[in-house]
């Protein structure tokens, strides 16, 4: 079903009884050309681009829970591409360009809003890092600006830029093309588009093992039976190490809780996304009016999808440092997702020690923004067996060769 003013008007007049599910509740078949493990945004985008770019529709996306119920539903929806290093900039900018046409392409309202992303600087080092990143971004064709404190205040009035603040705002980088998108809609939009092209999306189907013969993957054991596949792609975010262990290899990944929370709804008060390294908080306002607030990871390894209160406490301290006016705001909900953190804070997209088993993981705290680009390059890998040029620097081998893409501290956010 295409969405249009006409279908909306027709459904409004007929009591909204004509809407259909967005994707089929597919039962798994015994064999597929490609099996993708994980029906979050990245896995669904991979399936969609496999069909759209490579004409491969004999594809199943297996999901142990429900579609888009992991980190896709738990992130703070920020989209930007202002990364320092060339490799990251190319990958995230490719993703941002896809975002810019995605709602139209998927015929799905992603509520993509390019309201601008501010990365604040609070000390001399932040200022130098920010100005350097602005120049690096521009040389990579990414829009970036440096703002002084007065310009920051003009763009985002509720920020306290007084020089007597404990962490004074000395300036900020601004990416005007950055912004936010509706996280659930991204998964639903990709799911509907992939399903329409013949991809089977199989929920409540957990992978429990791999059938591997002579170093080559033949299929996956699941809670809904064995499924043979020529190629298997793992897109399981926080649970990537668990799947790798089932296949008999290790990853340089640590799984941590990352918490976020939302406030009660307010009238429009925050016109852009604000991120800050030094006091460590990032915040935007949803279309419902809630402030969406995220911070850093909990220190310990965990798969429990919850974190400790002291992390939220310091996150709230940081928020009030920047926005004293929010001090009487009530918080509505908090939650945690399990993020797969890599030593260099860059993703792993590539081959594994098992032939025809490919992995896309390690996006850590910043995977949402990369959803379209990640799916695009991983589909290329699954279709051709060789990495897309944009993904080549992010192979697992970089940990042996030492050619890391070290975005820790460089990626405009602390990890």
């Amino acid at each position: 079903m295409r969405y249009s003013f006409l279908t909306l008007a027709r459904e409004a007049l007929s009591g909204h009884r004509g809407w259909r599910p967005l994707w089929r509740d597919a039962a798994p078949r015994g064999r597929y050309e490609v099996v993708i493990v994980g029906a979050g945004g990245h896995g669904l985008a991979t399936a969609y681009y496999l069909a759209r770019n490579h004409g491969i529709t004999d594809v199943a996306v297996l999901e142990k829970g429900w579609l888009g119920g992991g980190n896709t539903a738990r992130n703070t929806t920020i989209v930007r591409s202002n990364y320092l290093w060339d490799e990251s900039a190319a990958l995230y900018e490719h993703s941002l360009k896809l975002w810019e046409g995605l709602a139209e392409e998927l015929d799905f309202n992603l509520m993509f809003s390019q309201r601008g992303v501010l990365n604040l600087a609070h000390n001399l080092h932040d200022v130098r890092e920010g100005r350097r990143r602005v120049e690096a971004n521009r040389r990579n064709g990414i829009d970036a600006e440096w703002l002084g404190p007065a310009e920051v205040k003009k763009l985002c009035p509720p920020i306290d830029v007084s020089p007597t603040a404990r962490y004074p705002v000395l300036g900020a980088t601004l990416q005007r093309r950055g912004g936010v998108a509706r996280h659930d809609a991204v998964a639903w939009g990709y799911a509907r588009a992939a399903d329409a092209r013949g991809v089977d999306i199989v929920e409540n189907c957990e992978v429990t093992g791999f059938r591997i013969e002579a170093g080559r993957v033949r299929g996956v054991e699941t809670t809904r039976g064995y499924i043979a596949a020529n190629r298997v792609g793992l897109v399981a975010a926080g649970h990537s190490s668990v799947l790798a262990a089932l296949a008999g290899f290790r990853l340089p990944i640590q799984s941590h809780p990352l918490q976020a929370l939302v406030s009660e709804p307010l009238k429009p008060v925050l016109p852009c996304v604000v991120m800050s390294n030094a006091v460590h908080v990032y915040v935007s306002q949803s279309d419902k009016g809630e402030l969406v607030i995220g911070a850093g990871i909990d220190a310990y390894n965990s798969y429990a999808q919850r974190g400790a209160f002291h992390v939220i406490e310091s996150q709230m301290g940081a928020l009030l440092e920047l926005f004293p006016t929010f001090s009487r705001l009530k918080m509505m909900r908090s939650w945690g997702g399990i993020v797969d953190v890599c030593p260099d804070a860059s993703p792993i997209i590539g081959k594994t020690p098992i032939e025809n088993l490919f992995i896309n993981c390690g996006w850590g705290t910043g995977g949402f923004k990369a959803t379209p680009g990640s799916g695009w390059v991983f589909a290329h890998l699954l279709a051709t067996g060789e990495p897309h040029p944009l993904a080549a620097p992010f192979a697992l081998e970089r940990f042996s060769t030492g050619v890391l893409v070290d975005e820790h501290g460089a990626a405009a956010v602390a990890h």
């Binding site: 668990v242 640590q254 390894n301 940990f399």
Partner: protein, 81 residues
Amino acid sequence: MLLIPCPFCGPRDEVEFRYGGEAGIVRPKDPDALSDAEWADYLYMRHNPKGRLEERWFHVHGCRRWFTIARSTATHEIERE
């Protein structure tokens, strides 16, 4: 917040500690004898299990000593000896 049993100071709040990750990672005696892959395996590769994990903690705001505990990464439960 975790209540962590420091073997020297007793149970203390998590905020007094720094996390040290997976325990039992031994630095190779002769790094020069390793291949790049073996060195990467020591340096970067981790088990990251869902379930029981033996891990290092540093009581930075207490006795400033390192110790190992076993904790479940699925439930956060810490094993008592």
